[in-house]
């Protein structure tokens, strides 16, 4: 049985369409990420699932119940907000038990649940404090505790980590993942941070301008983006997009690249059938930074791992890797190389291209060609 089913859901304010027909199905126990840039409609969709925002058309099922007209409290959900939304006048204990009290859970049972939640989240010592006396991370934890206490079928998280500093964000990210593994409930999680999306999600729904761009596992979305938008949005540093002419190469096809003043033709690995029609024209080739690296002997002499010397424009050490910027076909291209192989600004360096990982897009529409 699916935990959540969103069917052709639309939202308009007058003539303005915020959501243009969204279809998403989530299996029970899955961790779904709604990710996209600001204003893509992801938070609106979450609010509609929660019942805090009305639906213009379409259907939303939680479990097998149609919830379009149910009020938030009857949807069996719990939500964690960006601002935490803790009740400032209540202690942590009261914050957690408020929802139980509203549902007329007996007092003894309330106490038992609060203690249990406090144990799971290791915040027993905070129970008698007011939210103002807590740090950002502790407030976040209380907000999660409030959600867990109700034991709902569906958890909704609305950018829960964006108010935390970078270090705490990574810690809480792990904590949320642990929490999900422990309680095994379905989670719908909104974020604009593609790293959160990749690390947390079982499934990712990439949204842009009110439309669902791609729905799949993190691996699918990362390795097989359906269009230019998804390819550019997921991954950091983002995928390189290089305009390349398609030319004949041997019996097949190749892409023409201008690197450090030399023209080279690299094979389009296995993409010939889709690119045949584009011969002699330009397409957009996408290649991720980690697929342009230093010369790796284990792949040397493989036809889909061609090597070309390039001039280093900028070199940025990040610690584990060094990011090298070179110019190819007039575009700045970022490559990720091992620090021990990295050359400095102005020097020449041999770069190895993994052509088996390249993707091709229609330069006009941005849709995937191969």
């Amino acid at each position: 049985m699916g935990a959540l089913s969103v069917r052709n859901v639309r939202k308009s304010y007058g003539p303005v369409d915020i959501l243009k027909g969204i279809d998403i199905d989530v299996e029970s126990g899955e961790f779904l990420i709604l990710v996209g840039p600001s204003g893509c409609g992801k938070s609106t969709l979450l609010n509609m699932i929660a019942g805090l925002d009305s639906i213009t058309s379409g259907e939303i099922y939680i479990g097998d119940r149609l919830v379009n007209h149910l009020s938030p409290k009857d949807r069996d959900i719990a939500m964690v907000f960006q601002s935490y939304a803790l009740y400032p006048n209540m202690t942590v204990r009261k914050n957690i038990s408020f929802g139980l009290e509203m549902r007329r859970v007996p007092h003894a049972e309330q106490d038992r649940i609060v203690d249990n939640v406090a144990r799971i989240l290791q915040m027993g010592h905070l129970l008698d404090r007011k939210p103002a006396q807590l740090s950002g991370g502790q407030r976040q934890r209380v907000a999660m505790g409030r959600a867990i206490a109700r034991n709902p079928t569906l958890f909704l998280f609305d950018e829960p980590l964006s108010n935390l500093d970078a270090k705490l964000r990574v810690e809480m990210r792990t904590e949320i993942k642990l929490l999900h593994q422990r309680v095994g409930k379905t989670i719908i999680y909104v974020t604009h941070d593609q790293i959160e999306a990749m690390t947390l999600g079982d499934k990712i729904a990439v949204m842009n301008a009110g439309e669902l761009q791609q729905f799949g596992t993190p691996e699918q979305v990362y390795a097989n983006p359906v269009n230019l938008f998804v390819a550019g949005f997921m991954g950091s540093p983002s995928m390189n997009f290089i305009p390349v002419p398609i030319v004949p190469l041997g019996g097949g096809l190749g892409v023409k690249l201008e690197i450090a003043g030399n023209t080279r033709v690299f094979p389009v690995n296995g993409a010939e059938p889709q690119l045949r029609a584009w011969q002699g024209r330009e397409v957009t080739m996408g290649i991720r930074p980690e697929n342009i690296t230093h010369k790796d002997e284990s792949h040397a002499n493989e036809p889909n791992h061609p090597i070309a010397p390039a001039k280093v424009e900028v070199s940025e050490p990040t610690g584990p890797d060094t990011l090298i910027m070179v110019r190819i076909n007039g575009k700045d291209v970022v490559c990720r190389v091992h620090p021990s192989h990295a050359k400095r600004h102005g020097e020449m360096m041999d770069l190895m291209f993994d052509m088996s990982r390249t993707v091709f897009f229609n330069p006009q529409t941005g849709s995937r060609l191969a």
Binding site: L52, A85, Y87, P88, M102, R146
Partner: protein
């Protein structure tokens, strides 16, 4: 370690500080002068007032004028002092303040956290109420009170002040609740709380600073009001401001300045008291939400 430039700035700031404090003290004295005159005059005997210097301190502290003002001064033909009118004022000011504050809180809650179609228009219309002078509503209000059958009664006066005060209290609470994050209400909705319960359990407990502002404002306005009091009440039921006017304007007998002053202070004491008790919240409430807490 000595730092000459640092010492110099410190010296400079000390002079500046002295100037600032000096000015503040001067202004303070200027504003306190009338109060001083009133208090000292109220404690003098009539002979002393007639014969002496206005600024001189009383030779002997004498509370006779206070006792007379409270207990037996004549306002027109009545000679029962201010005490009855003081209680009149308390009787209608307290309910009027509480009711207008409570309704204002409720209005503010609806206008910010439960917006509906046309709520902005309605709010703007309500705000016009802040700009309507008292005099404009006198006649229609008299008709309305007559129709409701509460003309010339304490209930009527409460009604008038509640209606007139609503625009202000609504504005106060609305501007305060705008700083309350929507997510708080959303969280409470998901927790299962309804419209009324969210107001009583979540929103109202947050509102202390703005409640204080509203109470001080309304108390001062209503307690000090003269026009509505003189128009919509008469005789025994008149508020203290009207009684004070009558007392001071009595044309029979000797003009007793000490009694007038004592009566005026009695009439002003409750507002002074409210400021003294809640004043620090007043400033805090007016600037609430201005700085992220």
């Amino acid at each position: 370690m000595a730092d000459p430039s640092g010492a110099q700035t410190q010296g400079g700031s000390r002079v500046g500080r002295a100037v600032v404090y000096g000015l503040l003290i001067l202004v303070c004295l200027y504003y306190l002068m009338p109060l001083f005159l009133m208090v000292s005059t109220s404690l003098k005997t009539l002979d002393e007032i007639r014969g002496g210097d206005l600024l001189a301190r009383p030779q002997q502290v004498n509370f006779d004028a206070w006792i007379k003002a409270w207990d037996s001064a004549c306002t027109g033909v009545q000679c029962g002092g201010m005490k009855g009118y003081f209680m009149n004022s308390v009787r209608f000011v307290v309910p009027a303040v509480l009711i207008s504050t409570l309704i204002g809180a409720f209005n503010g809650y609806v206008f910010t956290l439960w917006r509906f179609k046309g709520s902005d228009v309605l709010f703007s219309m309500l705000m016009i109420g802040c700009f309507i002078p008292f005099q404009v509503v006198l006649l229609p209000m008299a008709q309305t009170l007559g129709r409701f059958g509460i003309a010339n009664s304490t209930t009527g006066l409460i009604f008038v002040h509640v209606v007139y005060g609503l625009a202000f209290t609504t504005l106060f609470f609305r501007n305060f609740y705008i700083t309350v994050p929507d997510e708080l209400v959303k969280a409470a909705k998901i927790d299962g709380a309804g419209f009324v319960r969210i107001f009583l359990r979540i929103i109202l407990p947050l509102s202390t600073p703005i409640i204080v502002v509203s109470v001080i404002w309304q108390f001062t306005q209503i307690w000090n009001d003269f026009l509505f009091g003189v128009v919509f009440s008469s005789g025994e039921r008149q508020p203290i401001t009207v009684a004070l006017n009558n007392l001071v304007n009595t044309s029979t007998g000797v003009k007793e300045y000490n009694v007038d002053m004592a009566a005026a202070i009695i009439a002003a004491l409750p507002t002074l008291f409210v400021y003294a008790v809640a004043g620090k919240y007043f400033v805090r409430g007016l600037t609430a939400g201005a700085v992220k807490g």
